[in-house]
C-alpha cells in the first residue's frame, strides 16, 4: 500500500480509527470558510489562467486548461459545494489535484497554507445532510480562530462522474 493510498484511506471514514497521526493539509478558502485537502493529493497550485469552456459539460465544470501540454479539466468548486459563485480575484488559484489516478483542477478563492493537523483533533460532522455533496466533508478541525473543513477528494465525484470529467480532456 502506497503512502498516498494510505493517506487517502486515512482521510475517509477511518478518521476516528487513526487517532494521533500527524497529517499535512493544504488549506484554501472559499468565501469565508477554510477548507483543507491532503497535501499528498495536491500536485501544484497555479495562478488563474483562461479556462476554455467545454460545451455540453456538466454545470460544475468550468472548462479545460493546457498544463504543459496536458489538458486538465477545471472544476467550479463553489458550484460543486453548493456555494454561491464569486468573482475571480488576484488570489484565485487553480489547485491541480490527483485523486485515484484522475488529475483535475479545482478553482479556489485563495490558498492559505500547509497545516499540520493531528487526527485526534479532527471531529466528525453531523450526519444530517441528505445531499450528495454532504459526503465530501470528512471532518472539521480547529485552526487558530477558524474551523477547518476537511475535504475527502475521493468522494468529490462518483466513478461515472470521474470518467466524464477526465474524458473532457
Amino acid at each position: 500500500m502506497s503512502d498516498e493510498n494510505k493517506n487517502e484511506s486515512i482521510i475517509g471514514n477511518k478518521l476516528s480509527e487513526k487517532k494521533g497521526e500527524l497529517l499535512r493539509w493544504v488549506t484554501f478558502k472559499l468565501g469565508n470558510e477554510l477548507y483543507g485537502v491532503n497535501v499528498m493529493q495536491v500536485r501544484e497550485v497555479l495562478r488563474y489562467t483562461d479556462i476554455a469552456p467545454v460545451p455540453g459539460a456538466p454545470s460544475y465544470v468550468l472548462g479545460i486548461i493546457n498544463l504543459r501540454g496536458n489538458v486538465v479539466t477545471v472544476i467550479d468548486t463553489r458550484a460543486r459545494f453548493g456555494i454561491p459563485p464569486a468573482e475571480v480575484t488576484d488570489n484565485t488559484r487553480i489547485m491541480i489535484i490527483e485523486s485515484e489516478k484522475h488529475v483535475i483542477g479545482i478553482l479556489v478563492d485563495s490558498v492559505a497554507e500547509v497545516a499540520d493537523l493531528n487526527t485526534a483533533d479532527i471531529d466528525d460532522t453531523p450526519n444530517v445532510g441528505t445531499e450528495e455533496n454532504a459526503q465530501f466533508i470528512s471532518g472539521v478541525c480547529n485552526r487558530k480562530d477558524d474551523l477547518l473543513i476537511l475535504i475527502d477528494l475521493t468522494k468529490l465525484f462518483t466513478e461515472t462522474e470521474w470518467k466524464e470529467v477526465t474524458n473532457l480532456g
Binding site: G82, V128, G129, T130, E131, N133, A134, V140, L147
Partner: protein
C-alpha cells in the same frame, strides 16, 4: 470369264454368305450389328443406293410376281440375312453390262434371276424383304416402344390403381395428414403460447402478489412505526413545579425546561457546511466543542428568510445541538396545571405543551434532538405525516 462361270461363283458365294449369315443371325439379332454389316458391305462393294433403287425399278417390274412368290419362300427360309446377298447380286449385276440393255439376253437373264431367287433368294425380293424386315423392325421398335409405353402406362396405371386404391381406402390422406400435422403444430404452439402466457400471468400475478405483500408490509411497518412512534412518544415528566427558560425567536416565544438546558453561549463565528439542510446554520466552536447550530425560525418555517445570526445559542441537554434565539426573557417557575400537556405526539412531537399564561410552546427537547438528528424539520414532518 463367261456368264455361267460368274453365276457359279455367285451361287457359291451366296451359299457361303447365307451359311455365315445364318450362323450370325442366330447369335445376333441386333439391328445395329446389321447396320454395321450393311455399312461394311457398302464399303466392300461400293454400292450406291440410288443406283440400286434404279436397278430395282428397272428389273422389278417384270419380276414382281415371282418376286412376291419368292419373297414368301425366302422369308420362310431366310429371316434377315437377304440384304447382303441381294446387294452383292446387284453389285455383280452392276459390275457387268446391264442385262436389260441387251434384248436378246433378257429371257436368259430373267431365267437366271429366277434360278438365283430360287436358290438364294432373289435380290429384289431380298430388297423387298429387307424393307419388310425394316418395317418389321420398325414395328418391333414401335411394338417395343409401345410395349415400353404400355408398360409405363401400365406402371402408371398400377400406381394410379394403387393411388386410387389408397384414395379409396382413405380419401385425401395428405390433406388429412397435413391437417393433422397442422393441427398438432397449432395445438403445440397454442399449448406453448398458453403455457407461456400462463407462466407469464402466473409470474405477473406472483410479482403483483409479492408487490402487494411488500406494499402491505411497508404500510404495516409504516403504520406500526407511526403507532410505535405514537405509542413510544412520551411527554416529558416534570415535577409539579419546574423552571423554564423563555426566549424569543423573531418574535415567537418559546420555553424550554431548565432540566433540558445544556447551556447558553454567544458566538459570532458559525462555520457553515455545504450539503446540509438549510435550517442547519453550521458549526460553532464553543470551548473546544463543535456545536451544531440550528436556525430555529428556518426549522419551524422552511420558507422563512435566512437569518443573519442569532444573538444566543441555547444548547440542548448534553448534546452538540443548539438552537438560535434573539432574546432571552429569563426563567420562570411553572406548575403542571399551568401547562396544557399533550397526550399524543400528533404532528408535533417536539411540542410538550402550551404554557397557558404566556401562550407559548414548551419544547420537548428529547424529541427535538431526534428530529435534528434525522434531519427533519416541521415541514418534512408534516409531509411525512401526510404520506
Amino acid at each position: 470369264m463367261s456368264f455361267h462361270e460368274i453365276d457359279d461363283t455367285l451361287v457359291e458365294y451366296f451359299k457361303q454368305m447365307l451359311a455365315e449369315e445364318s450362323e450370325l443371325c442366330d447369335n445376333n439379332n441386333d439391328a445395329q450389328s446389321q447396320k454395321a454389316v450393311k455399312s461394311s458391305d457398302k464399303d466392300d462393294f461400293g454400292i450406291d443406293t440410288s443406283s440400286l433403287d434404279a436397278c430395282l425399278d428397272d428389273a422389278g417390274s417384270s419380276l414382281q410376281p415371282d418376286a412376291d412368290k419368292d419373297t414368301v419362300n425366302v422369308s420362310d427360309t431366310v429371316s434377315s440375312d437377304s440384304q447382303e446377298s441381294s446387294i452383292e447380286v446387284l453389285d455383280t449385276q452392276s459390275s457387268f453390262d446391264n442385262p436389260l440393255e441387251n434384248d436378246s439376253s433378257v429371257c436368259s437373264s430373267l431365267a437366271h434371276f429366277e434360278a438365283l431367287a430360287r436358290i438364294s433368294s432373289d435380290p429384289l425380293n431380298a430388297q423387298i424383304q429387307d424393307q419388310n424386315e425394316k418395317n418389321d423392325e420398325k414395328l418391333r421398335d414401335t411394338d417395343i416402344s409401345d410395349d415400353v409405353s404400355l408398360n409405363v402406362e401400365t406402371a402408371t396405371a398400377a400406381e394410379n390403381e394403387n393411388s386410387t386404391k389408397l384414395a379409396f381406402a382413405e380419401p385425401h390422406p395428405l390433406e388429412k395428414l397435413l391437417e393433422k400435422v397442422e393441427t398438432k403444430t397449432e395445438n403445440a404452439t397454442q399449448e406453448e403460447v398458453r403455457t407461456d402466457t400462463q407462466e407469464a400471468v402466473q409470474t405477473v400475478e406472483q410479482d403483483v402478489k409479492s408487490e402487494q405483500k411488500e406494499a402491505q408490509i411497508i404500510e404495516d411497518t409504516k403504520s406500526e412505526d407511526n403507532n410505535k412512534s405514537q405509542e413510544e412518544w412520551h411527554n416529558i415528566e416534570l415535577p409539579k413545579e419546574f423552571q423554564a427558560l423563555f426566549f424569543l425567536v423573531k418574535g415567537i416565544r418559546f420555553a424550554v425546561p431548565l432540566v433540558n438546558l445544556g447551556g447558553i453561549f454567544q458566538s459570532e463565528k458559525i462555520t457553515p457546511l455545504f450539503g446540509k439542510p438549510k435550517w442547519f446554520m453550521g458549526i460553532a466552536d464553543i470551548r473546544g466543542k463543535k456545536m451544531n447550530v440550528v436556525d430555529t425560525l428556518k426549522w419551524v418555517k422552511s420558507d422563512a428568510p435566512d437569518s443573519e445570526n442569532y444573538e444566543y445559542k441555547i444548547a440542548l441537554d448534553n448534546t452538540l445541538w443548539s438552537i438560535g434565539c434573539d432574546e432571552l426573557e429569563g426563567n420562570r417557575i411553572l406548575s403542571n396545571d399551568s401547562v396544557t400537556w399533550r397526550q399524543h405526539s400528533g404532528n408535533r412531537p417536539w411540542l410538550a405543551g402550551i404554557v397557558k399564561k404566556e401562550m407559548c410552546a414548551l419544547l420537548h427537547v428529547e424529541e427535538l434532538i431526534k428530529m435534528f438528528e434525522k434531519g427533519v424539520n416541521l415541514k418534512d414532518l408534516d409531509l411525512q405525516m401526510s404520506e
